[in-house]
């Protein structure tokens, strides 16, 4: 009985030691209260496929984005399934602060120059806003010479405004909605309107921490729309500083004033362009 009792005391002493450490840790946790943190990494890149994602880079970040869209896959073996044709966009974007980014770019297709302002209005938080909302205003200049038409500067301008609403539902799945307004000063046919409203839908499924599948679709409202709605499917790989995005899309243009209203390929008939976006981040100013 006596030895049993002392054994009990020893046991209690040991468990009480453990008890104290655990108790102290819990007390610290209560006081530290893991704060309301912003939800990061909704998308890996500032682009999803052709269009923008809600992501803005941190202050002082300069991002270089090189994008290619090859010719149509169904153009056959003679054109090496489209690889003989290549359209390039060279882009640079600079983050003035954690929420505001300015960007410029040049597209070889139609010789388009583009510029945009992108601002994060609301950030998704672990407790708080359920979504991230980012505004993008994009202006582009169509600089291709058209001997058949008198091209004034006004006629060359196109504008797009988009409200990007995204939610990282869980570490695996992110979804984004993109209500968009497109205004083109010059349209191809008289029946087309200069105004166009569209709703974009995009998503990312993470296959691992660094690889994900992406999809993007823009539905255009209205009856007299030419061509097809833009659709793209892709895979993205992030390697720390670089994001590689490989995609298949029926759009050849890489600015929203191009791919939203004037996508000419029919995806399900094989008018698909293989393409990629490669981005590289440089921190040119301190972020804090």
């Amino acid at each position: 009985m006596k030895s049993g009792f002392s054994f009990l005391i020893v046991l209690f002493l040991i468990t009480s030691q453990f008890c104290i450490a655990q108790d102290l840790l819990d007390q610290l946790r209560e006081k530290t209260e893991l704060e309301n943190k912003p939800v990061i990494g909704t998308f890996k890149g500032t682009r999803i496929i052709n269009g923008q994602s809600v992501e803005t880079r941190g202050k002082g970040n300069l991002e270089m984005i090189i994008s290619h869209r090859f010719g149509r896959i169904n153009s056959g073996a003679y054109n090496l399934f489209g690889l003989d044709d290549s359209n390039v966009r060279l882009g640079l974007e600079y983050s003035l602060n954690d929420r505001l980014t300015l960007g410029i770019g040049r597209n070889s297709f139609n010789k388009i120059y583009d510029g945009y302002l992108k601002g994060k209005i609301i950030q998704q938080k672990s407790e708080g806003s359920p979504v991230t909302i980012t505004w993008v205003s994009d202006a582009s200049i169509y600089s291709l010479k058209r001997p058949d038409l008198e091209m004034t500067f006004e006629r060359r301008l196109r504008f797009v405004h988009q409200m990007l609403i995204a939610r990282k539902i869980n570490p695996m799945l992110s979804l984004q909605f993109m209500p968009s307004y497109v205004h083109r000063n010059l349209v191809a046919t008289a029946s087309e309107s200069n105004h166009l409203f569209a709703l974009g839908l995009a998503g990312k499924i993470a296959l691992s921490r660094r690889v994900g599948l992406t999809g993007e679709y823009y539905y255009r409202f209205g009856n007299n729309n030419q061509g097809y709605n833009s659709l793209g499917l892709g895979i993205e790989i992030e390697t720390g500083g670089h994001v590689f995005q490989l995609q298949f899309t029926n759009s050849i243009e890489m600015t929203p004033s191009g791919f939203i209203p004037s996508t000419t390929g029919e995806f399900f008939r094989g008018d698909i362009h293989f393409g990629f976006n490669v981005s590289r981040s440089f921190q040119v100013r301190k972020s804090n």
């Binding site: 209690f12 009480s16 102290l24 720390g240 921190q283 804090n288």
Partner: protein, 177 residues
């Protein structure tokens, strides 16, 4: 029966704590790793700790999202890809600081106990120094953490080479109440 009640009483008493815990709310943690292209460093001022000078027990708690980098994208990758801070929001140590002598201006101490990082717990032994001045205690230690020990993966497909071992510096100041 009386004895059992007595033992239970002492046990609860022990659980209530030995009273004399001192707290540090301004813990500083830094890690540094030298890599081929660029060094990686981050600082955290959100760490906190409790220390009991009588029993020499200590717990240290470090919120992972509190690490600040010079490059914001690196900070995002640190949280998203390496530490998975949404799943494992904190790192902590609990154990004994043996070698501590109350009243001594400077004592060499060894922290022995369990360290948990990235959800993986390991027994560690870290030598450090404790400085005593007036109403405060200051603890400092520098030690290495091998990423593999805590199942922090370094991907093969990386352009920046990341060192497999990082140097961690900790400084905690405790005030006697």
């Amino acid at each position: 029966m009386k004895k059992i009640v007595l033992v239970l009483f002492f046990w609860f008493y022990a659980c209530e704590g030995h009273g004399q815990n001192i707290k540090s709310e301004t813990g500083y943690v830094k890690f540094f790793s030298s890599a081929l292209i660029e060094d990686i460093a981050a600082e955290n001022n959100e760490a906190s700790a409790y220390f009991n000078p009588e029993t020499k027990e200590a717990v240290f708690l470090i919120p992972i999202a509190g690490f600040e980098f010079e490059k914001s994208l690196m900070q995002e990758h640190f949280n998203e890809n390496y530490m998975e801070s949404d799943k494992f929001p904190e790192a902590y140590f609990k154990g004994i600081l043996s070698g501590f002598r109350a009243g001594q201006v400077e004592s060499q101490a060894i922290a022995e106990g369990e360290m948990t990082i990235h959800g993986v717990t390991k027994e560690i032994r870290v030598p450090g120094k404790i400085f005593h001045s007036g109403s405060s205690l200051r603890m400092e230690a520098i030690f290495n953490v091998v990423l593999e020990d805590y199942q922090i993966e370094i991907p093969k497909l990386m352009f920046q080479k990341i060192a497999e071992e990082v140097e961690v510096t900790v400084k905690f100041e405790f005030l006697y109440q």
